[in-house]
Amino acid sequence: MAPKPKLPKPPSAKSHVDNSVGERRLRQIYDWLDSGNSKNALQEAGKVLKKQPNFLCVKVLKALALLRLGKEDECHELLEEVSREVPIDDQTLQAMQICYRETQQPHKICEMYDAAAKKDPTNEEILTNLFMAHVRLGDYKQQQQTALRLYKAKPKNPYYFWAVMSVVMQAYHSDEKIARMVTLPLAERMVQKFIDEGKIEAEQEVQLYIMILEKQGKIQEALNVVEGPLGDKLISYVTVPQLKAKYYLTLKRWKDSIIISKCFLRENLDHWLLIKNYLTSAMSLMEEGEDLSSTDVEYVLWSRPDASIPQIKEFLKLLMNEMKKKGKNVRGPYLAWLEFYKMVHERGQDADQLVGDIVELFVQYFRCFGDRSCCPLDLKQYLPLVSVQCRGDLIKGVWQIVGLEDGELPDTAYRMQQHISTILLSRHLGYHENLSSTEKLQLTTCFLRYFQHGMRFNVDPLPTDFLSNDPYLLLMAHLLLDIWIETQESSRLLDVLLLLEHALLMSPSNFHFKLLLVKCYNILGAGVAAHNVYETLDVKHMQLDSLGYVHCGAVQATGQYSIASNLYDVTLRFFTVNYKDSVDYLSFTYKFGSFMKIEEFVEFRERLSSSMHYALVTVERMLIDILHSTTHTQMLKVVSQMEIQSEKDRMDWKRMTDNRDMNAYVSWDPPERQVSSDLIKETRDADTSFLRLRMLLLRALGAVAELCSSDSPVPPKEVNESVDHSHGNETTVNGKTPSQHPLSSLEKVISELKNTHKSVKEEGLKYNPSKAIGAPLRSRLFDYLETNSVELQLELLSLIAAVVRESFNDGKGNAFTDIGSKAITILRGSVHRAIKSVFETKCASLNTRRELFERAVNVVEMVCLAALVCGVINNILEPSKQVASKKGKKKQKGADCPETVEALNKFMSEMQSIATELHLALGNLRPNISVDAFHSQMSLIATEAGKDTPPCRVPAVGALPAIGPDDITALSTDMAQLVLSYENRKNKDKGFSVNVSAKLSESYEDSLQEIITVLQQKMTYLDSSKL
């Protein structure tokens, strides 16, 4: 939580003789406010004002105290009074600024400083504050003008460059053509003027100039600056060599680019960017047909603009030699060969012939870095270069370096790491893909042995470090997941859970284990269990946005409403607090002249505020609150606090950003099983559709609540007309846009919902279960559509609209018989389908538990909505409401009409009976929800496997051994317990260190209870709503 901003203390040294008492008391008020004691602050301020009624600052502090005591109106009144006096002393202005910030009126801060600046036009402090006020609002034009005024008053360089930067920002937000033709040239001229007059002082000013030139594509000009006298100033942020290298490349000055890259590589052999620069430039120079003869004279090699493959090879060899000479091993020069190979290959040439044997290049790297965990990560991107025929050679090549016999356990940590790298590479090459499930199980067993053996290499392991043999366990989990994907045997998922829970006991900081556990528990619909692990990840701040997707939606889909609500609250707090805070840092960038960061900050703020996850969480949080309210009055109260904009869709769907970190899950699967851009798009699209539908539901509920509290339930002019939905244009009265009548809003939203629903269905988004480990869980969209939730919403909302209109005609109508009965049919159909095809069948397998809960959540939500609508209709027809609105010209007749009352009661009885049926069905799930029945049918240790068939060979492991009981007893401590617990699971041995079954069962029971509770509340709600 962000602390309240500390109030600026009055400067003590400045106290005037006659004012010193006042100053002291002022300080006292500040202290009260700071310590949160607004009451005392108010009293103190009152006392001071009695003696000095014109002490403006005290008045403002009084206003602040009032504000914090919830008396907003009085606060505004007092502030108005002070602002009419146009204060110019810093103390008062600062205090007012705090008030305006707390009331979220940033434009008032501008107005205030603007007025002050008019009164005291040369006051540097006031103008600076005015500038910053404009920065907060993002008003670049005003920024520019204020900065120039400031510069005129106090000709200091930073002020001038604030103006320049403000011009640049105008370009950022304007049309590209205008930016290029007008705005940026203006900014350039402004700086040029300063250069001509020899006024450039600071590094930041040069940075800004370069930025302006770059934006206009004036690379040569930028290079001139960098190479000229101004370049001397560039010492810290982006330095001259870096810039030069970049510009030479853009300008296709290959020779210069090669030479500068070489020059800096000589000092820094591992500079990957320069290696790539060098290779790109040399390859390009070669294509232009330049060639120079070969040489082996070193100083020539360091300065020659290489233009042929042999020359590049000479240089890469030189890099290697230089590295050996310096006695240190870095990855860059090794990877340079692979990168070189890739470039030649991509140009359609025979890289094996020209550069060297690809396998040899891999082996060369592996020899030095095979024992580091970065090895497979570095090599991954080059693996596609290895042809299918050569893959065997590659594995053989690295396997020789590891130097283990088939099935031999590594004798050193070093070898174990190499072994791990080899396995990961072979998995990435697809060697595990073609194994049968039995073979995968055997392999899993093998890795267990390697893991167990590897424990000895962890000497005094720190709980904060990963264990060096952890990758074996992660691979085991991945293999078991593979088997589960193939066989859909849920016992394999239980194996994964058990394995990872145990792994965490040994290596408590390994977040890969945790992330995978969260995923597996969520796949199984165990929201609580998933959440318990998720909490140990300590996801916070930015991570709430980038990682929230792995858990938030899933946890709500299992009916864990309170966990979901808490997660949503924490997430929303992050977004609101940080959006406010980050604007302060935007003004800091000007203050410190960090011009390079300004666009980045603005862009980032936009990215956060338009985050998809943010929007989803906001809408879901509100819907939970509304749909779960226990009485109609509570529902109205909840909605009234939400400021739902029912009239207009304020979302800019096209600009929604996807901030999910899709690389969080580590995976060694072959490329076709990695998270692809298609998958990212697919899952994003599904979430967007879901969000749009949910947003419309929220807006509709907003309109419904407004309708309940509206004086006249029907728009005055069109009492007897139907609303024409087609013209969305807002009419203006006296230049003001009248806010729409809630009934019109509702009808508009209904038609929007109808259209959106139609287009979502037409899009035909399908859930494709992905084999990628990092794939997000199934979007909630699919079951939402499947349950016919939206169909029901449309009928229920239309029913409300129809009832309102009827009650204004003669009270007679067919709303209930027409629309109401449709709603009942839909709801009954959904509930029956849920019971028959989900509750009664999907309980039998753990795999479908998530579906089970998600369906339960969705149908219960449908009942919630139905109950809520009953409450609303009741409210509209209620006689007491009539009395209250008697001032209105028209008298409502609805409640007078016995047919209507009867129809409503009948409607509600139908709803009740459906709810009761659902309640019964959910209750029936209770005895079947436990997981005891799902113990593994097949033990993890495949003792029998491989007896009849020839043993399968796996790279880096060799022939898969059949494992006997003796091997199990040889395993010690934790892992033995793990294995034994697998073995004995069928016998319900109590020896689990982690009782996964119990965790699942508890989670299921808890979810069911939560869902049933919500349903029960709604049944009571229905009871109490009867007329």
């Binding site: 965990s373 991954k380 992330l515 840092y585 862009e603």
Partner: protein
């Protein structure tokens, strides 16, 4: 030195493989932005050839007169990229930047229990300048070592004469 580049806000959205590490604190957005706004050159990220974040360093320049120094606020390397000298590379960037800013020394705080880190800083030439009592809050609170390395401007190496007595956190400026 591997390729370092300035850390940007967008990196905050994808640094999970570094920050999920239990010894790496994830701060509030404001904290990162303060550093990015004020000392952008002290905040660098090391990127792997495949574009992943290998680690980053976050620091600042502060102090008056002979106390003008570079400070390491956070230094972290992803578990996947350890044992490659990444931390040394990042540290040397900050030291160079501090040299350019004509600092007298570079300093940092480290948990007294974090033996691995202390050992590494010693190898990089840092000395334990003083102990700060109960600097890290927790259960129980933990002391910090204030470790220092002199820059070339501190010709007489005045800044790295260790203090004999520990200090309280409120005495650290």
């Amino acid at each position: 030195m591997t390729t370092l580049r300035p850390f940007t806000c967008m990196d905050l959205l994808k640094f999970n493989n570094v920050n999920l590490d239990p010894l790496t604190e994830t701060f509030g957005l404001a904290f990162y932005m303060q550093y990015l706004a004020h000392w952008p050159e002290h905040f660098q990220v090391a990127e792997s050839p495949s574009g992943e974040i290998m680690g980053y360093i976050m620091g600042k320049a502060e102090g008056l007169g002979e106390n003008w120094h570079g400070h390491v606020t956070a230094l972290t390397v992803s578990p996947d990229y350890r044992r490659l000298g990444m931390a040394a590379t990042l540290m040397s960037w900050l030291e160079e930047t501090s040299e350019k800013k004509q600092a007298y020394f570079v300093d940092l705080f480290v948990r007294v229990s974090n033996k691995v880190a202390i050992q590494m800083y010693k190898q990089l030439g840092y000395i334990i300048y003083r102990t700060v009592l109960e600097y890290y809050s927790g259960d129980p609170d933990e002391d910090a070592y204030d470790m220092r390395k002199a820059c070339s401007r501190d010709v007489n190496r005045q800044s790295v004469i260790p203090l004999e007595h520990p200090v309280r956190p409120e005495d650290v400026d």
